[in-house]
Amino acid sequence: MVEMRGISKRFPGVLANDRVDLDVAAGSIHALLGENGAGKSTLMHILSGLYRPDSGTMKVEDRTVSFASPLDAIRAGVGMVHQHFMLVETQTVAENVVLGDRRLGFRMDPSAIRDTVAGLGRESGLDIDPDALIWQLSVGERQRVEIVKMLHRGARLLILDEPTAVLTPQEADTLFDRMRGMARAGRTLLFISHKLNEVMELAETVTVMRQGRVVDTVPKAQVSHRELVRMMVGSPVLFDVTVPPVQQGRKLLSLRSLRVENDRGHTAVDNLSLDLHQREILGVAGVAGNGQRELAEAITGLRKLQAGTIELDGFDVTGSNQRRMIDLGISWVPQDRQHTGTAPNLSIQENFDLKHYRSARRGPFLDRAGQSRRAAALLAKYRVAAAGRHQPVRLLSGGNLQKVILARELSTELRVLVAESPTRGLDVGAIQNVHELLMEQRSRGVAILLLSEDLQEVLSLSDRVAVIHSGRIMGILPRARAEADTIGMLMAGVVPEDMAT
């Protein structure tokens, strides 16, 4: 299906792809693996016509191609679903799917379009409501829109850049089913992932990249989990988070009977109460869209409470705005790193300083020398791969963008950390680092609320696990009693008999 030969791409300061060869067999599921900044997204952008390679040749279905735009690529049957979605927020699903489709010309028959989109959704098993507005959709739903959009335009090769990074395990399973279905129907799938389990489960062939080069391409059957890691990182790595025992401190954050509405005005968090202690990681497990985002926004002051109170270290801080909450030491790693967590055209340095600038003791002026010192230190400490601290963050790879946010949120005098999927999009090594950082904060006395769809992560890090369903806490289990099946039931809204009171 695809034959890439000697592809190189240089960005100012980095060689993102270095003489890369890649072959993808038609009808197969092919995985692309590698550390953050290894050049995976760049290579796929080249294959899908977004970037031009500096050198090298490409063949798609045995014809030499040279794409000057994604439009050329899709004409040749190559479509990509990006790591960062590209949808028009204020339009409907149906409009987004047909957006930019030349075949339609200027005449659009809304009802016909809606039917086509709904039909495509059903066919591929990716149900979506064609009339929903994009901004109202969860990330998982947006991803379906992107996939349907590509199918609608006739993609025979579908590229998915870290598709499961934004999904719940259940959603991911569904996606895998759909992907297998599409492969059986003759489409070729090429996906990027940091999750080795997924790769082992789904892919037939695996290509590993490191620092812009292809390390090797191997059939899955001939390679083990451990070998893949060695190929990615260059050395064997241990994966174990040790949760050192600590003396739990006093109650730091106390949520009482919170009620919060979502953007659509429906109750998203319903009469929710939680206590969070010093030196504690409280994991909140739950299927995405069960009120996690609204809960995080309520705690951090971004969203209005309809009812309830929030106490921080014994003081009532109910109704404080975002600025006050930041000043009180509440750090927040938001779910949406693109639209909430960073200002894309500002530099890495400025994004490090997005909140911190206020604490400079220079009256109305910025402390520019301090800023650059801090930026240099954070770049090094968090190993952000970038061309320098003045690079706009929109040019960073997904994982490195996440590192910028983490660096910013963990480098202040924080008391409470609200972390939403903090390791999303990070490679195995970086995940290990983040876990260590969280443990470090924990032993320093920080209270951590970990909201993650990655059950494995929640289970391995948390002192206690709270399960959220429809905006309510279904149960709270201490680490010792937190077992995957109990939690799975609670996540589905079912209270197991031995817990029912």
Partner: protein, 374 residues
Amino acid sequence: MTGSTASGTMPSGRLRLRLEARDQPGLLTHLAVSLLLLVAALLLAGVVMTVAGGNPLDVYRSMFGAGFGSKWGLNDTLVKMVPLTLASLGVALAFRMKMWNIGAEGQLLMGALAASGIALFAVPPDMPQWLALVLMAAAGAAGGAVWGIVPGWLRAQFGVNEIISTLMLNYVALSIVQFFVYGPWGERGFGLTPMFERNTWLPRLTEYADQWSALRGLTLHLGILAVPVAIVFLAILLNRTKFGFEIAMVGDNPDAARYAGVRLRRTMIIVMALSGALAGLAGMNEVSGVVHRLLEHISPGYGYTAIIVAWLGRFNPLAVAVVAFLFGGLIVGADEIQSAGISSLLQGVILFVMVSGNLLIRYRIRLREPETLA
């Protein structure tokens, strides 16, 4: 598309041309392209003039001579540059935050009105000149600020589109000025107020002709000092202050700014107030430095030209001032050849060419390669 548009490629209709994103346009590319575009604009306008039966070379020569060719021309150009720069800087400030304030004209008028009110009714003839000028400047800034705060507040509180509200307020301001100059403040129904007392005039160079005879007849006034002051003020505000950083954040991603604890509404209103105040100062300069009275046509559209100037200067204070200087010369030149039409034509063509030419800075044009078409 949200986010990473800058590095995308763009199809260009059904032409066999393609636009391709440049990785990072450098300063030199910027300058070279801008110059090229200016030449292109002059050529294009020249074609129009030729078709209309004129000789563009003659026109350009006499315009350039009038605007920049002599001490007198330069004097007039600088006089026009003062209100143009102030208003343009105001516009640029708001545009930095993606607040599309196109109400500089109204803000300028309200500034002129407020300053005139002070000059006519609050300044006794024996008040020291400096005090009178300070009062007038404060009133001018305040008048413009109010005219900026209103749309700023409407936007912050109710989400009212500022493009529409600022545009409407331009007409409202003009009506108010007309009401005053034809009505209560007017003189014999000519649409102008009586001449102000001397102590409300910004001093002009010609007043120092006794010491330096070369200055005789030069009408350039003290208001020119506002130009460097405003540039430095704005450059510091935007690049060195916490508030300026907040403006940059809001301009780039309001959601991230909110997340970072920026008080969006407050920021919007303050920026609109400052933006209006700068335009208001431009109005004060005109009444106090140039005409010494308020009249209906106090501004030949400085507030609208300011939008073009701010845009061409890419919202950078120094670049805006340079463009304002050139446009000052353009206005003077057009006056000289007695054709406001030519001035509008040139302004329009330059804006059109520059804005479409903006693409050239961000993208490279390539011929579409046939083999990818199939």
